[in-house]
């Protein structure tokens, strides 16, 4: 299938205040949130982006929704470059691409009733008012909020986290989008509620034929959502493969450490030391070459000299490592 979203060498730098020395040298230090990211999201696919805090995954999601502009590189949506979207075409894009938020307690305007929150996208999209009630109702049905009209006049603080996340999803789905970005959609929810939201995400993707990108720090959860996973480290994709491959046969040393670190609910799990050293370096001054080399147990001189490219190894498996 053709790709719906294509990212080509996308770079995003956030400037930081410069020191006098840096001004004198003419240096422009920046936090390199994204440092050359290239991948496609196929039509109807579900892709997970996994990494630790500060790896750039949230920035990536924002760029794909045109909530921020890349410093370099290009992103296309349905074949059209996103940089050029303005006016009516931007509004059209907004109708097609939606976001599910991490914190449902913050994602709804506390002064809006639940109905008001879900009807808002319809107002913004200029949908005929006569259709509002029906479309809101069908969005609520999609997210399985039983007796939905009981909620319409309530305010967000009167609902539980799980209910709020369903309302947030109803709002995202009310315009009938094709593309959904979900940024840590369950990390703020209790375990017993999580599973329901995950199942719902999977269900709406199948029934509505959505293309989806899930951003998460939790490899264990991602397994239940996506067939394909990208692992990011310091603004770069280090591994891109089917999720089961990532979990069972990680190839990049960082992915190996990440998979090994995930605790499992089994008292007999391995407690071997992690194959990783030190801490994540300052994103303003990442190491030369491979940015993981200072923590990698297998680092060699070449890693410092040459930045490893993301290369396909097996079918659908890409790794950015000189060892591979």
């Amino acid at each position: 299938m053709a790709a719906l979203v294509e990212l080509r060498d996308v770079v995003k730098h956030f400037p930081v205040t410069r020191s006098l020395g840096e001004i004198a040298r003419g240096a422009h230090p920046a936090v390199r949130a994204l440092d050359g990211v290239t991948f496609d999201v196929g039509n109807g696919d579900a892709v997970a982006v996994v990494g630790e805090s500060g790896c750039g995954k949230t920035t990536l999601g924002r760029l794909m929704l045109k909530l921020a502009e890349p410093t370099g590189g290009a992103i296309t949506f349905g074949g059209a470059p996103m940089a050029g979207l303005t006016g009516e075409r931007l509004r059209d894009f907004r109708r097609q691409a939606q976001l599910v938020f991490q914190n449902p307690f913050d994602a709804l305007n506390p002064r809006f009733t639940i109905y008001r929150a879900v009807v808002e996208p319809l107002i913004n999209a200029g949908i005929d008012k006569a259709e509002h009630a029906d479309r809101v109702a069908s969005a609520f049905r999609r997210v399985h909020l039983a007796d939905f009209d009981r909620y319409f006049d309530r305010y967000p603080h009167q609902l539980s986290g799980g209910q709020l996340q369903r309302v947030v999803m109803a709002r995202a789905l009310v315009l009938g989008p094709r593309f959904l970005v979900a940024d840590e959609p369950v990390s703020m929810l209790d375990v017993s509620v999580r599973a329901g939201i995950l199942a719902l995400l999977r269900e709406v993707r199948e029934t509505m034929g959505l293309t989806a990108v899930y951003i998460s720090h939790d490899l264990a959860l991602v397994r239940y959502l996506c067939e394909r996973t990208l692992v990011m480290y310091l603004g770069r994709v280090v591994e891109d493969a089917p999720t089961e491959e990532i979990v069972r046969r990680p190839r990049h040393p960082y992915t190996k450490a990440l998979v090994a670190a995930v605790p499992v609910p089994d008292p007999d799990q391995s407690r071997a030391p992690l194959p990783i050293k030190g801490n994540v370096p300052d994103a303003r001054e990442p190491p030369s070459g491979c940015s993981f080399r200072d923590r990698c147990p297998h680092a060699m001189p070449r890693c410092a000299a040459e930045t490893p490219l993301l290369r396909s190894t097996a079918s659908g498996h890409r790794v950015a490592c000189h060892l591979d």
Partner: protein, 304 residues
């Protein structure tokens, strides 16, 4: 679906400003401080409104005793509740009429300060970039002018009129509210529900006025209440220093008259204590109201 009749919908989609306004009006009932503040305002407003009835004597009229002598420095009594000035004017009447000019100065300054402060704060905070930089540099400049000296120089040179005092106060006070509102907008702008409005295609102005402004409104009221007090104190100070509007009766003018005519050494407390108490009451009412609003609204803005 069927039972959700259409007439319900307008209430659900109404602008969230209305509930906010309702809460702003209902709030004083919850907070004793704010309630006292509002009560003081209402009392002074009534005094200003019915000044003619409350004080039948013209405050500027020079009074004479029955013997035909100037009724100067008459001690408080049945005829003149607070006595008379050294020029034979009724102090009580001056006090009552002074309410009018105090409220006029306070309210006009408050309206200008909170309007300008709110708009500048909203625009600078939301749009950021060059707009923000320019507006905030102007605010910094206004804040680095010494407050009272500036008002004195301005009124001293431009002429001593109430409107010049209000202008000077407004020129120097708006940056305070603009700064605070801006920083509030900056945090609100990062809130997920504001981002959500962007994703669902809301325009910048719609986000600003539908999603952000209603949260800012209580702050505007707080700054208005504080500005009322500041303006009245400033007017009093400027009048006291002799740069006031000589055509109007104000508390500051009364204090200046008392000071200049040696009322202090004569121990004419009834002349110079009441105007000061009136100023304290009206200014403290503003403080009380702002405290009340902060207690009720600010935790909500900060929390969650």
């Amino acid at each position: 679906m069927a039972e959700r009749a259409d007439p319900v919908t307008p209430a659900r989609t109404s602008w969230p400003l209305l509930p906010v306004l309702r809460r702003i009006v209902a709030m004083p009932l919850k907070d004793p401080f704010a309630f006292t503040g509002i009560l003081i305002y209402v009392l002074f407003a009534l005094v200003a409104l019915f000044a003619d009835q409350l004080a039948p004597i013209d405050p500027m009229e020079i009074l004479f005793t029955k013997a035909g002598k100037l009724a100067a420095n008459v001690p408080p009594g049945a005829e003149f509740p607070l006595g008379t000035t050294n020029l034979g004017r009724d102090i009580y009447a001056q006090l009552v009429y002074g309410t009018r000019s105090a409220l006029a100065v306070g309210l006009s300054a408050a309206i200008i300060v909170s309007t300008v402060g709110t708009i500048v704060g909203l625009v600078a905070g939301y749009f950021g970039g060059a707009t923000d930089a320019v507006l905030m540099r102007i605010a910094d400049m206004a804040l680095s002018l010494p407050f009272l000296p500036f008002v004195i120089v301005l009124t001293g040179f431009l002429g001593a009129s109430t409107s010049n005092i209000v202008l000077a106060v407004a020129l120097l006070l708006w940056p305070n509210s603009a700064r605070v509102i801006r920083s509030q907008v900056l945090t609100l702008r990062e809130r997920a529900y504001v981002e959500a409005a962007r994703v669902t295609g809301a325009s910048a102005w719609r986000i600003l006025f539908v999603h952000i402004a209603p949260n800012i409104l209580p702050l505007s009221f707080v700054y208005a209440a504080i500005a009322i007090g500041w303006a009245i104190i400033t007017e009093a100070s400027v009048s006291f220093l002799g740069f006031g509007d000589s055509g109007s009766v104000s508390w500051g003018m009364m204090l200046q008259d008392a000071f200049a005519s040696q009322a202090l050494s004569r121990g004419q407390y009834a002349w110079f204590v009441p105007p000061g108490i009136c100023i304290v009451l009206i200014v403290v009412a503003g403080f009380f109201i702002s405290r009340g609003y902060e207690e009720v609204f600010m935790p909500r803005l900060r929390g969650r």
